[in-house]
């Protein structure tokens, strides 16, 4: 089929822009939520989303249409975050990586049996329904564990997609998820020992 010249021009420029907006705009609430969790600050979260959005728009020509747009734009967000954060956050990330590597090398195993109490007290189940407690526990997670749990549980990404966003092997995704949930459970259990505030 031969297209008229104006139709050919429209195919080259028009649809790509609208396609970007069609794909990116519905993801803005998710991007903002993750950005806020990472930056812990509304202004920084807005800046991070805006910068990532513009980077994605400018680089949209390099996006392969049949691949996963969500993973692609989250990867941009995450890389933008890593390059825009202070040295402190970067050092924390590196420190955790080193800790993980050390444990792996020592052969101790990341999750020795008994790391989690398998006989789950009922109080843990009740605690899981307490959003404030869970949010407090999430805030205590180290950034590499927080980002993996947000992508897995909130964004419902598959391990393969998370590996693509974080640019790490699937095995590392799996171990980080296990580590993140262990940390969350430990924090929730520790909260149980604190007295709960009840009114008179």
């Amino acid at each position: 089929m031969t297209l008229l010249p104006w139709k050919r021009a429209a195919q080259k420029t028009g649809p790509q822009t609208s396609t970007f907006e069609d794909l990116a705009l519905p993801l803005l609430p998710s991007l903002y939520n993750v950005a806020f969790w990472l930056t812990r600050n509304q202004t920084d979260a807005e800046d991070l989303v805006q910068e990532s959005f513009l980077k994605a728009l400018r680089g949209f020509a390099s996006f392969e249409p049949d691949t996963n747009f969500k993973a692609w734009i989250f990867r941009i967000l995450r890389n933008t975050y890593l390059t825009s954060r202070t040295g402190l956050a970067a050092r924390r990330t590196v420190a955790l990586e080193e800790e993980l590597d050390e444990q792996r090398e020592s052969g101790a195993g990341l999750y020795p049996e008994g790391a989690i109490d398998r006989q789950t007290p009922e109080i843990n189940l009740i605690r899981l329904a307490d959003r404030a407690a869970l949010n407090a526990a999430l805030e205590k997670l180290a950034p590499p564990l927080l980002e993996v749990i947000l992508l897995c549980d909130v964004e419902e990404m598959k391990y393969k997609e998370i590996a693509s966003v974080l640019e790490i092997p699937i095995g590392t995704v799996m171990s980080r998820i296990a580590r993140a949930r262990t940390a969350l459970r430990r924090t929730l259990e520790a909260q149980n020992t604190q007295p709960r505030e009840w009114g008179a």
Partner: protein, 268 residues
Amino acid sequence: MTDHLSLVTINALADGELSAEQLAMANDHLAACPACTSTALVQTLLKTSVAKAAQRHAMPPGLEQRLRLLALRETSQSSPGTAQALRPARQSAFAGWAVAALLLLVFSGVIGLLHRGQRAEVASVEQSAQVTEVSDLHIATLAASQDPQVISSDRHTVKPWFQGKLPFSFNLPENLPSDTKLDGANLTYLHNQPVAQLLYHIGRHRVSVFLMQRKSGEAVSESQSEHSGFKVVNVGVGDLDLVAVSDVDPARLLELVGIIKGVQAGGR
């Protein structure tokens, strides 16, 4: 049984990441191992609880519009077609500007009208979604038959409990209508925003009053609606929205709402 499933496997099970073969093996093990079953249950509950709790940061209202404009500016700057179109216009610059100005006037008028219509439509959809959500929260509270997170009929206990939990403050009335009592309160979330859920009862009817920070700058005019047999009253008070839900007589619900609204200005 000594060989428990590894936590990585249990997590992969909770995340739906096991292959059919791995899933069958895990299920066989779970059928015979209460400890691993318990762990798997907790990991699954943790996953769903995190999914709900972590979805808490709502996008600021103006951000999407700002990004749309940025995208528009970006594409218009980078589009070669736009640059080419500007060049021949120099010959008849005045006529071009006049036409452009006229078009701009017409467009802005049309867009203004459309925008106003869309805004009204969006507001109506948002309000209807809010009615559904607060009704669901109220029903869930009734069904849970759990104690409130803060149990007290004393406003001096309930109000301070929210300090640091909410990005706003509010007042509670001391004098309530006859047969009306404060039972306590919960910290809950609505549209990913923290919200105070005040629990009252009027006679034998239970009432939830939700206090939340308004997203947009426009005050909500008083509105009443009904959802699943519950009366829902929505009023704007300063920077707050107050939504009350109950199956009590509407007049008595309105009386309570009026009293709570009245003390938000600082009075008691």
